[in-house]
């Protein structure tokens, strides 16, 4: 696939589709969107059932007795129990685990005239039957091959939608079908959430089912549960008005709220996928898809946000299917087949499954973030968008990196805004991480749950990411003006500052080295003066190393060590290295270290100064310390000061040595 081609599509089908036997007179195909499994059933199961799922592990084949046509077939989440619906009155079960009795057992629905519309596995070995008279919630006791009724709800039902990711069952009721009841299933219990009505454009007389299942999607978008309703345009004298998608947000404890409306500006047949919290609306007539992001600001009206497509409508990237090699006269060759996109044989499943029953293909719809990078020129909008996507970290880092390449450099204002956006997420993450750490300290039990919640999928761009992937660009492009380099780094440090994120010292090192390389010592001095660069021992050492080219660095380093208050040893070392003996002694006195400093080190330096007065003073000082500490002027043998005592005697005579006799 060429790069040009890759750039012009923002949606594509997963590279390796799951292939299955297409629908035919002998084969029927079922799809379970909870487990994302395709069942190809031959002769009602007697000639075999092939199950294919998202990964190799879920591939299996099995055989069922032919006891009539199948209506629905679904595995429990752990793949241990297979549920099969063959009639409107009962669901049959087969235990599929090792050493299990393979004989089926079945469960009838309650009531004489009740018809089962469908069933779904709600949680581990729990199942709900949706009938035209209500819900029946059972627990499957596989060992005993029986079901235990947990709860029933009586309610007239037209159709239902099950969302596995949120464990919510949405039921349509009423003669128009527009009264929706959400039920939340949580291990063994069912919670009835407040019902709500979907507005209809025109109510038919006599009333008939107007809200169809195919126009409703139940989806989690940005971790919130929404009901998406596709409202087809009504016929007006001037033609059909464009269709819209209406979003109702579902709450556990309050009424559902109409929050957003997506303007499709088109009419015809539509299907909806959700990819990474983006709403993708496929339009069959134009063979294009529209992308909506409810996180972007839209036009406000009556408490509802109206959205236009986030990007201009584009088709999904063409998909070539390589067919198995067919032996021909010229040898076997791989044939490629151009799949028809937006085909009438397509069935769209929630959230991002595209299935072609005729072709026997099952894909995931995926986003192509790299193409979006080229389509969205507004960097701030782009970063906002990318920060909400999963696995976008490298894409974001690349965007940031490209912003700094000479010739493509964007203004500092944009860079500042982008850094702020990244650091807002980064700081939130740090705060949650701290919160988790605290929670773990307080209560070690249940910390995993908290961690799972805290570690969201949003990309976190931390300081080392910026350092390695973004700022490294300046190493590569030596022609960047140092002013720009420093300005970018200062922007980053400022941005970290506003979010109160402590800056790591490698960033300071980078900024110091850049300033030093360009002889901007006075500017560096000012940065240190205003504490733009935070104090640390490694930085103090770096400053000391700069003394040769910029003498004031010595003073700055000493000040820094002093402020650190844990580096008094280093201060003494530095002073000694400068032969500043008396200041070193005075300093050790002022910080109360005078009893611990090494006499040998001081005397060694004092001897090296070749200044007799200094040597005398230092020697005398330590003699007096000996008197104070041990009542004797003699040096302790462990101090290894004998050579200096000899030196002293040589210079000033043996009589000059203090004696306590």
């Amino acid at each position: 696939m060429s790069a040009v081609e890759a750039d012009s599509y923002y949606l594509h089908l997963s590279k390796n589709p799951i292939r299955f036997e297409p629908v035919s007179s002998v084969t029927s195909v079922f799809f379970d969107d909870s487990n994302r499994q395709v069942f190809t059933v031959r002769s009602n199961g007697a000639a075999g059932i092939v199950v294919k799922g998202p990964d190799e592990k879920s591939f299996s084949s099995l055989r069922l007795e032919d006891r009539g046509e199948l209506i629905s077939i679904k595995f429990s989440h752990d793949m241990k129990i297979l549920g099969v619906q063959r009639s409107a009155r009962a669901v049959d079960f087969t235990n599929m685990y090792a050493n299990a009795d393979v004989n089926e057992y079945s469960q009838m629905c309650k009531g004489k005239d009740t018809k089962i519309i469908g069933f779904c596995w709600t949680s581990f070995h729990e199942i709900v039957f949706v009938t035209d008279h209500g819900l029946e919630h059972y627990q499957v006791i596989s060992d005993k091959k029986t079901l235990k009724l947990l709860k029933t709800y009586s309610i007239q039902v037209n159709w239902f939608i099950w969302s596995c990711e949120s464990s919510v069952l949405l039921v349509s009721s009423g003669s128009l079908g527009n009264t929706l009841f959400p039920f939340l299933f949580k291990s063994g219990t069912v919670m009835k959430l407040p019902k709500f009505e979907v507005e209809l454009l025109n109510i038919p007389r006599p009333p008939q089912l107007s809200l169809k299942q195919r126009d409703v999607v139940l989806a989690k978008i940005y971790d919130q549960l929404y009901v998406l309703v596709l409202r087809h345009g009504a016929a007006t004298p001037r033609g059909t008005s464009p269709a819209e998608v209406i979003l109702y947000q579902i709450f556990n404890d309050s009424n559902a709220k109409k929050t957003d409306i997506l303007r499709l500006n088109l009419s015809g047949r539509f299907a909806i996928n959700i990819v990474d919290s983006l709403i993708i609306v496929h339009h069959q007539v134009s063979k294009t898809s529209l992308v909506y992001d409810i996180h972007t600001p839209g036009e406000l009206g009556n408490g509802v946000t109206y959205h236009q497509p986030f990007l201009s409508p584009l088709p999904i990237r063409p998909f070539k299917l390589s067919l198995p090699a067919v032996p021909t006269s010229s040898g076997s060759e791989v044939q490629e087949y151009n799949c028809e996109l937006y085909s009438p044989n397509w069935v769209i499943f929630h959230p991002n499954v595209v299935l072609d029953a005729k072709l026997g293909c099952f894909w995931y719809l995926q986003l192509n973030l790299e193409s979006i990078v080229y389509m969205l020129t507004d960097k701030c909008r782009l970063i906002d968008f990318l920060l909400l996507r999963q696995d976008s970290k490298m894409v974001i880092l690349n965007v940031c990196r490209n912003m700094l390449i000479p010739g493509r450099q964007v203004s500092l204002t944009v860079i500042a805004t982008v850094f702020n956006k990244l650091n807002r997420v980064y700081s939130d993450h740090l705060n949650t991480a701290n919160g988790i750490a605290i929670a773990m300290l307080i209560n070690s039990v249940g910390s995993d749950a908290i961690r799972a919640e805290g570690m969201s999928k949003t990309p976190i761009i931390d300081q080392s990411d910026i350092y390695t992937h973004v700022l490294s660009v300046f190493d590569e492009y030596k022609d960047s003006s140092y002013k720009y380099v420093v300005a970018v780094m200062v922007e980053y440090i400022r941005s970290l500052g506003i979010f109160q994120i402590p800056v790591q010292h490698f960033l300071f090192e980078l900024i110091i080295n850049t300033l030093v390389q360009h002889n901007c010592f006075y500017q560096l001095h000012q940065f240190l003066q205003y504490h733009v660069v935070s104090d640390s021992k490694p930085l103090a050492c770096l400053l000391l190393s700069l003394e040769g080219s910029y003498p004031p660095a010595y003073q700055l380093a000493l000040d820094m060590l002093k402020r650190l208050s844990t580096a008094n040893d280093s201060i003494i070392e530095v002073l000694l290295s400068k032969h500043q003996l008396l200041p070193a002694i005075r300093f050790s006195q002022s910080v109360g270290m005078v009893d611990h400093i090494s006499a040998r080190k001081f005397l060694e330096v004092a001897k090296a100064t070749e200044n007799q007065m200094t040597f005398f003073t230092v020697f005398r000082f330590f003699e007096q310390r000996n008197v104070r500490l041990r009542g004797n002027a003699k040096f302790h043998p462990g101090e290894y000061c004998d050579p200096y005592v000899e030196h002293f005697k040589q210079l000033f005579g043996a009589d000059a040595v203090l004696s306590t006799s």
Binding site: K483, V490, G497, Y522, Q526, Q529, Y530, V532, Y554, R563
Partner: protein
């Protein structure tokens, strides 16, 4: 009955001995002589005398001659550039007393401190160089006549503004007062400046001051020192006077802000008038002096100096663009800084003692005995002179790395001068009946509370 005479300027001249080596050509050596009214013959004699002294003393020492003391005058020599000498002659202050009907003049020689007035001489030259470049560069580029013109143009005006009786230790330090500012506000200003310099690449350097305090300088230290002196001693006092008289706040079409040009177009509606824009010569760290235009912009308490590339043609459009970009942001930053500085409780930070601080490493100076415009010190001139003496003592006479001098004056004031590495502090304590030990303890306490974040040895 007594009559006091303050220090006075008798003459000021610049000469180059190489310019008229032959007899009869002596007048060629004179580049500038103040006062003008002096007969040429006297000028030649004066210069000849100076030259003789300089040459004579040079036979004994490598260190050039610095000053000549006489009973009634003091002459200071300063070799600004090789072979270019600037000389200033001062009248020694005196007191006239009438004792038994006889007039008796008492000359107070010790009131003139050589190193203070040498600093004046140095500062005078630095300021000239900022606006005109070096003497030699003018000679190289033009000719001797234009050098003479420039010297005349600059010094004739400048010398009359010299306040010779108001120079003290601060002149010697010739430092810069920095504005204490928190990191976030500082970074915000920094980022704003970076953005500005990216948008206007013509701007080579920028400098920001707030209420006479330096906040940011893109210039080299030495250049900044001279520019700071010009701004605080000359430009700012002049515009503050203006402010209180006329000048309304500027409001532009895009919304009001408080910015306007101090050096630059006075009226942004009138494109005919680019206003007063000086050329400045920056020494930088390179050999060649760099020429820039000095544009000064002001918003509330903030003053921004923009040094624009000297080879650019300045057009009115640029000023309008700068005003549009800088005006609103600088106004906002200035009002934030104003809020921050007012929030710091002034009464609690007001120190109970008087001090002067100087750090040679970054020329940072602080003083509690001078008002911000550096004019009226709050201690007697005796004390100031004593400080200057201690400074001289600590730095030139004994040349110690660290040291301390404690002096008690006749009127019960204690002056403590301390030097640690490159920093100096002078503390004045008024305490009756205190002894040396008490003063020493007091200074230790003050240092540990006020200098706790720097390495300042007790």
């Amino acid at each position: 009955m007594t009559a006091k005479k303050e220090v006075s300027l008798i003459n000021f001249f610049i000469f180059n001995a190489k310019f008229g080596p032959k007899e009869g050509d002596e007048h060629k050596k004179i580049l500038f002589y103040f006062p003008h009214s002096v007969p040429l013959d006297t000028k030649i004699k004066q210069i000849g005398l100076c030259e003789a002294i300089i040459t004579f003393t040079a036979t004994f020492t490598d260190h050039p001659c610095e000053s000549l003391h006489t009973h009634k005058t003091r002459q200071l020599f300063f070799q600004a550039e090789p072979d270019f000498w600037t000389v200033m002659t001062l009248g020694v202050p005196s007191i006239e007393k009438i004792v038994e009907g006889q007039t008796h003049t008492d000359y107070r020689e010790e009131d003139i401190q050589d190193h203070v007035y040498r600093a004046v001489l140095q500062q005078t030259y630095n300021l000239y160089r900022l606006f005109n470049g070096t003497f030699q560069s003018t000679l190289t580029k033009c000719d001797i006549e234009s050098l003479k013109q420039r010297l005349d143009h600059f010094f004739s005006k400048y010398l009359v503004t010299l306040r010779l009786n108001q120079v003290d230790i601060m002149t010697v330090f010739n430092g810069v007062q920095f504005l204490p500012l928190d990191k976030i506000s500082y970074l915000r200003l920094q980022c704003f400046i970076n953005q500005m310099e990216m948008i206007f690449p013509q701007i080579r350097y920028s400098v920001v001051l707030y209420n006479n305090h330096l906040v940011w300088s893109g210039l080299e230290q030495e250049d900044m020192r001279v520019l700071y002196y010009y701004l605080t001693a000359s430009l700012l006092p002049a515009i503050t006077e203006q402010d209180f008289s006329t000048a309304p706040l500027v409001t532009s079409a895009e919304g009001s802000h408080f910015g306007r040009f101090v050096l630059g177009p006075p009226d942004l509606q009138n494109e005919k008038n680019l206003g007063r824009i000086s050329r400045v010569h920056l020494a930088g760290c390179e050999q060649e002096m760099e020429e820039c235009f000095l544009v000064v912009y002001r918003a509330l308490g903030a003053l921004m100096c923009l040094l624009i590339q000297g080879d650019q043609q300045l057009d009115f459009d640029l000023f309008q663009k700068i005003d549009k970009f800088v005006g609103p942001q600088l106004s906002a930053i200035a009002s934030d800084i104003a809020e921050l500085t007012s929030r710091k409780n002034p009464s609690s930070t007001e120190m109970q003692f008087k001090y002067v601080y100087f750090n040679r490493m970054n020329f940072a100076q602080k003083t509690s005995i001078h008002t911000s415009n550096g004019l009226t010190p709050s201690v007697s001139s005796d004390v100031l002179r004593l400080i200057a003496d201690i400074h001289n003592d600590l730095n030139t006479v004994t040349q110690v790395e660290d040291g301390e001098t404690i002096v008690k004056t006749s009127n019960d004031s204690w002056i403590v001068g301390k030097k640690s590495d490159q920093r100096e502090v002078y503390i004045i304590i008024h305490q009756k009946n205190a002894n040396l030990i008490e003063i020493n303890e007091e200074v230790k306490r003050l240092c540990s509370t006020h200098f706790n974040n720097i390495f300042f040895l007790d």
